[in-house]
Symmetry: C2
Subunit: 285 residues, 2 copies
């Protein structure tokens, strides 16, 4: 079995590693625009062979794990080149733009549009590791547009990876993910920016910041090349979520300014229910 | 040696546990407004005896670990009742209001005003654990207002706890901590609020949120009784930091709305330097 992974970062590289563990007979081919990523991936035994798009005619599976703007160009190119029964899985953090871009492609039925909720603040081949997807949720969009035997292949893979599956429409995906993922990244990046701007003498941050700050700005370490196109593609939903976040912050600031501490207490108390929500999530990372 | 701990939560309880490990000859007395906390603390062997304020005449050390509004009342009361050579350590997350409130107390020289940067989102006696303070920073304010032998006793304790010491003025402390701690808590609480409001069907959050969201809203689990008075006491610095945070978020939203993705990329890239800043912090929690 020939498995091609396009984009050997955290997600693509971790999928490659899992594939090698799950299916020892598979040969994993790597395609990446960055030659040093390919070298690293080979040295780290994430991939068996470096390949290019012309080799896709021998592919059984193709995993596309590139930034979401690049995916809009790469996925049609992959669909052009694959054999008739190959499975193509795309794994980006936005789904509406991709599903729209390939809706009329003659090989649309070979593609499964997914979003495995398994990202971290780390990127590149060195971040890849076995078991990243275990217990995580994989969102699948427009399953009905994927051919049945292709669906079956993909669902077998996700089952072997021990992922939980959830089906959503692309727009609903983008809207929900704007709140529970994209907004978190912006809140974290802007918190980092605010503190860096203020604390011009970095020694102060070193010494005074604790684990709470570290947790809240963790996502500000994320890759700009990955995140800028996500903000672009999910512009409408992200600006809507940001508007509500800014409204809530502004209202909270006004409560403090007006010495209105009883509603502040109540607001903190009712937000504490996030505990129960988070207890329902299984984290393996 | 008689050690009194007033407020048996995460910080007070953890200090009590460390004291029992470090100084097996010490008897640890607990005072708490919440009788069930005292029962738990006794059952968990965090304290040896339940006590009250009238017992403070036999105290060698008193640790005051109560919400910052309560500290303004408790610390003068403690200073009224202690023997001449007793050490009183207060550990709240704001320092200016406390230092001002006790500046003219006749026993001011028995008190050391500190802020161990060791809090987490957990509270209550059950959260207490040995080793919480190891490697953490302890900020000491107005050391010159504490009598020299009392300073020595306290510094020996912090050294035994393996804490790093940093000296600051109360106002500088409150200003810096507004940025690296208090602001993080508000950004996290408001992120939790925004998502809870939006996702009225909680099942969606369960299924779609990943470890990134979990990390960013972790602090929204924090205790309202502890945090409301912190926001009140550090009102000026917190509203200033919130204003800058809201300004940065609004500017970022405008960049997205204007499809201005190059400055977005640059902003994310320059905020990535938080990596190096965080690498300088040693987290043991």
């Amino acid at each position: 079995m020939n498995v091609f992974v396009i984009g050997i970062g955290l997600i693509g590289g971790s999928l490659a590693k899992d594939v090698k563990v799950l299916y020892p007979q598979a040969t994993v081919f790597g395609i990446d625009i960055n030659p040093s990523h390919l070298e690293q991936a080979k040295a780290l035994h994430i991939i068996d062979e470096v390949a290019n798009y012309d080799d896709l005619d021998k592919a059984d599976w193709v995993i596309v794990a590139v930034p979401v703007d690049v995916a809009l160009k790469v996925v049609p190119k992959v669909l052009d080149k694959i054999p008739a029964n190959a499975l193509v899985v795309e794994v980006g953090s936005t789904k509406a733009a991709l599903c729209k871009a390939i809706s009329h492609h003659k090989n649309r039925r070979n593609l499964l549009a997914t979003h495995p909720i398994a990202g971290t603040e780390f990127s590149g081949p060195k971040a890849a590791h076995v078991g990243l997807f275990k217990g995580k949720t994989n969102i699948i969009c427009e399953i009905d547009k994927t051919a049945f035997p292709i669906q079956e292949m993909a669902l077998k893979l996700f089952s072997d990876l021990q992922m939980r599956i959830r089906y959503m429409k692309p727009k609903a995906h983008d809207k929900h993910i704007a709140y529970v993922s994209h907004l978190s990244h912006i809140s974290s990046f802007m918190l980092g920016k605010t503190v860096i701007e203020k604390e011009q003498n970095e020694r102060d941050i070193f010494d005074l910041a604790g684990s709470g700050f570290e947790s809240t700005v963790r996502l500000a370490k994320s890759s700009p090349a990955m995140w800028t196109p996500i903000f672009q593609q999910n512009k409408k939903q992200i600006t809507a979520s940001l508007e509500e976040y800014i409204k809530n912050l502004t209202q909270f600031k006004q409560l403090i300014e007006n010495d209105d501490y009883e509603p502040i207490f109540k607001e903190l108390e009712s937000t504490n229910k996030i505990k129960e929500i988070l207890n329902g999530i299984q984290f393996k990372a």
